[in-house]
């Protein structure tokens, strides 16, 4: 077994642990922090079902962003939808046998990679071209886009320019899951791809990527507009009444 295989095996165990535990911890913090007051941005749904629909529109279509900025919306939607398809397509490296629906979406996945990269490029251009967005961008905001772009490029490289041995890649990752390690192919684009992906996994719980769980916990979006009908009170606030 090559040294590099061992390094990457350990790296991916570590990255997976940090991603899942870190994210679980951050979500637990969001979930257990009370929301003492009713603050939905109105007009807001007056039923639970309405709130579920509102959140669905936010997550699936970025409804508020659409109201806010059409250019950002277009690029962002391209990027996220592309990302989603790419990730779904990647599931084939981790499960065996590959389920039918996954096989069916494979052809679309190819375009998804381009959509993702194009979206990212558009978003990054905004950070240079629009003075307001330039002003609010920290180095980390640029680097995050760079990181995702490089992941996309290296992936597309493997797909279209310098192919890697996908069967071996799959064996490596199946091996990690089943604790029966196999060698990783030593291709440059693959190593770049995997290193950057591990980096992404590690920084996820400590970065603004928390927006993904955050949107579900945002009180202005997830609260039902019924303060007159139903008394809403946090535990710490209840103590003030004693």
């Amino acid at each position: 077994m090559s040294f590099l295989t061992i390094v990457y095996a350990l790296l991916f165990y570590a990255a997976t642990a940090i991603l899942t535990l870190g994210l679980a911890y951050r979500i637990a913090v969001f979930a257990k922090t009370p929301a003492p007051l009713k603050i939905p941005t109105t007009p807001a749904p007056v039923t639970r079902t309405g709130v579920v629909l509102r959140l669905f529109r936010e997550v699936a279509f970025f409804e508020s962003l659409f109201k806010g900025s059409k250019w950002t919306w277009i690029f962002s939607w391209m990027f996220h939808l592309g990302l989603l398809l790419v990730l779904v397509r990647h599931v084939r490296y981790f499960v065996d046998p590959v389920p039918m629906p996954l096989v069916l979406i494979q052809p679309f996945g190819v375009y998804a990679g381009f959509a993702m990269v194009a979206g990212l490029a558009g978003l990054w251009a905004r950070r240079f071209l629009v003075d307001r967005v330039r002003y609010i961008s920290a180095p980390s905001d640029h680097l995050m886009l760079l990181l995702l772009l490089l992941i996309g490029f290296s992936g597309l490289m493997m797909k279209f320019v310098s192919h890697t041995d996908i069967v071996m890649v799959k064996q490596f990752f199946r091996g990690l899951i089943e604790f029966d390690w196999h060698n990783l192919p030593l291709d440059f684009p693959l190593i770049v791809h995997l290193t950057l992906v591990a980096t992404l996994m590690i920084i996820f719980p400590f970065s603004k990527l928390l927006h993904a769980p955050g949107v579900f916990f945002s009180p202005t979006r997830n609260q039902v507009d019924n303060p007159r009908e139903k008394r809403h009170i946090a535990r710490w606030a209840k103590k003030l009444e004693e």
């Binding site: 969001f30 009370p34 941005t41 007056v46 936010e58 629009v130 609010i136 180095p139 928390l210 009180p219």
Partner: protein, 521 residues
């Protein structure tokens, strides 16, 4: 045109997004509260010695008590969708008035002390130490936010800069850096009962004067009762309604509506104020203390319902928070929402054709309506989402022949703030108030030029006071701003000649109150 020692924005045809110019409003800051005003609210009088430590402790405390604060600090992706949505940015070009930049003033400190990347790589993520300069910057820019929530409409995660501003102000208060305007007023409410410091006897005089005026005007004895026990309705209204123009014309209107509805009602000297500035300073405890007066007054007076007069942030505290802060209101009549807005009350009467109205009384005006931010984006009226836009308009249209809306991007949920909300309605912040009014003034100016609008109606004491002050800076007249119930008051024909009887005081009160409520259902 009013004189100004700063440049009043020029009104263009469209609201243009300016290029950023750093530091244009760095000099703006309100007067600091005197030690007495801070201590009255339970805060240290002056900047405490270990203020950094205390401020960070407070930040930690708040992020554990407010999910909004924690989630919003963590979730912003700097997408920039909010950057051109704040009226203060549009009016001042100062990039720190962009909502995300305003949040970042606090977020960069949060990152430094409470996140791993900020602790180890501060420059990478834009984290900074909490220094005196940072504190001063907070004081300046968190008092250039009217907590209007316009930014939260457009943010993909609903990040509400108002929540951050409130937290920032609470952190500042907790280390002894209070704002004079808000803290002085809250102390006045605790001591005297209202923002203006108008004591009970003065209030009684004022109301008596109103009764005389209305009688002279109409020949009908419409009553404006104070502290009357056993009546149906307790009216809670902003204290500006007691004397300032155009507010008081609104109060006259409420009285006429109650009179025509045949319900008995009263004001309270104990809770003679709808405003609750506890919200502006983000202090749950102070907001609760102010709210509890209303509960006490309702219990002491033995009323069945609570109705709120025209005030934006007060309606937010009433509609969204009152049940939480001072509930449950199980001692009131369960057939009515608690509390109810005066527009909801009047609207119900309109639905039943219970008012006799002569629209032509308002024919000298062509009206438009300013949606107040707190009403628009933090509350509702009626049963359906969006009732807060339809109900006031329905009331206006029922009493006026000439009505036009301003541009649709500047009303409803996207309404532009008057520029004076959130505890900024003070002369020491005149520059930011005038500049922040630019988007609203632009939209108003357009309907004045194109549609012949003469007056703008509003249902918020702060908006009305702000416009009274600010309209002249833009070459308009201060009396172009009117109360919605002033319009109702003009149009309403008084058909009942006597005062409704007070149940509990007279024989057969039960029967009387039965019919009264029937008439309204």
């Amino acid at each position: 045109m009013a004189k100004a020692d700063f440049e009043v924005p020029e009104l263009k045809e469209y609201i243009e997004v300016p290029e950023i110019v750093e530091g244009t409003m760095a000099h703006s800051k309100p007067f600091y509260a005197a030690p007495q005003h801070n201590t009255d609210l339970g805060f240290p009088g002056e900047l405490v010695d270990n203020w950094q430590e205390k401020a960070l402790e407070k930040m930690d405390d708040l992020r554990k008590r407010y999910r909004s604060f924690q989630v919003y600090l963590d979730s912003c992706v700097k997408c920039g969708a909010c950057t051109d949505k704040c009226h203060y940015f549009l009016g001042t070009s100062d990039p720190k008035n962009m909502p995300v930049a305003r949040q970042d003033l606090l977020r960069k400190v949060y990152r430094r002390y409470f996140t791993l990347p900020g602790k180890y790589f501060p420059n990478l993520v834009g984290a900074v130490d909490l220094t005196k300069d940072v504190l001063d910057e907070w004081y300046s820019y968190y008092h250039q936010c009217s907590q209007c929530r316009r930014c939260s409409v457009f943010c993909p995660y609903g990040i509400d800069t108002a929540e951050i501003s409130m937290a920032a102000r609470e952190i500042m208060d907790s280390v002894g850096v209070g704002q004079k305007y808000c803290n002085e007023i809250i102390a006045k409410v605790f001591k005297i009962g209202n923002n203006l410091g108008l004591p009970g006897p003065a209030l009684a005089d004022t109301l008596e004067g109103l009764e005389e005026d209305v009688f002279d005007d109409t020949g009908v004895a419409v009553k404006y009762p104070l502290d009357k026990k056993g009546v149906d309705i307790l009216l809670i209204t902003p204290s500006a309604d007691f004397f300032a123009e155009p507010h008081v014309d609104g109060l006259i209107g409420y009285g006429k509506v109650f009179h025509e509805a045949g319900v008995s009602w009263t004001l309270s000297s104990k809770a003679s104020e709808a405003a609750n500035f506890g919200m502006f300073i983000g202090s749950y405890e102070n907001m609760r203390r102010v709210s509890l007066r209303i509960r006490e007054a309702a219990l002491e007076l033995g009323v069945k319902r609570i109705v709120f007069g025209e005030c934006g942030h007060a309606w937010r505290v009433a509609y969204s928070f009152l049940n939480t802060l001072a509930g449950p209101f199980d001692f009131l009549d369960p057939n009515y929402p608690v509390p109810q807005h005066i527009c909801e009350f009047t609207y119900d009467l309109l639905q039943k054709n219970a008012l006799t109205l002569d629209k032509s009384e308002n024919d000298d005006m062509t009206l438009t309506f300013h949606d107040s931010c707190n009403v628009a984006r933090a509350t509702r009226m009626g049963d359906k989402p969006g009732g807060q836009f339809e109900i006031p308009r329905a009331v206006i249209k029922a009493v006026c022949n000439n009505y036009v809306d301003m541009h649709h991007e500047t009303i409803g949920e996207k309404t532009f703030c008057c520029g004076g909300g959130g505890g900024l309605l003070t002369d020491d912040l005149m520059e930011v108030r005038v500049k922040g009014a630019m988007p609203r003034m632009t939209a108003l100016n357009n309907v004045i030029q194109d549609e012949g609008v003469t007056h703008m109606a509003a249902i918020c004491a702060i908006c009305k006071s702000q416009f009274t002050k600010v309209l002249p800076y833009y070459g308009m007249d201060m009396d172009q701003i009117v109360s919605v119930h002033q319009l109702v008051s003009n149009a309403i024909q008084l058909t009942r000649k006597t005062e409704p009887e007070t149940p509990g005081e007279v024989e057969g009160a039960e029967a009387a109150s039965e019919t009264d409520t029937d008439a309204e259902e």
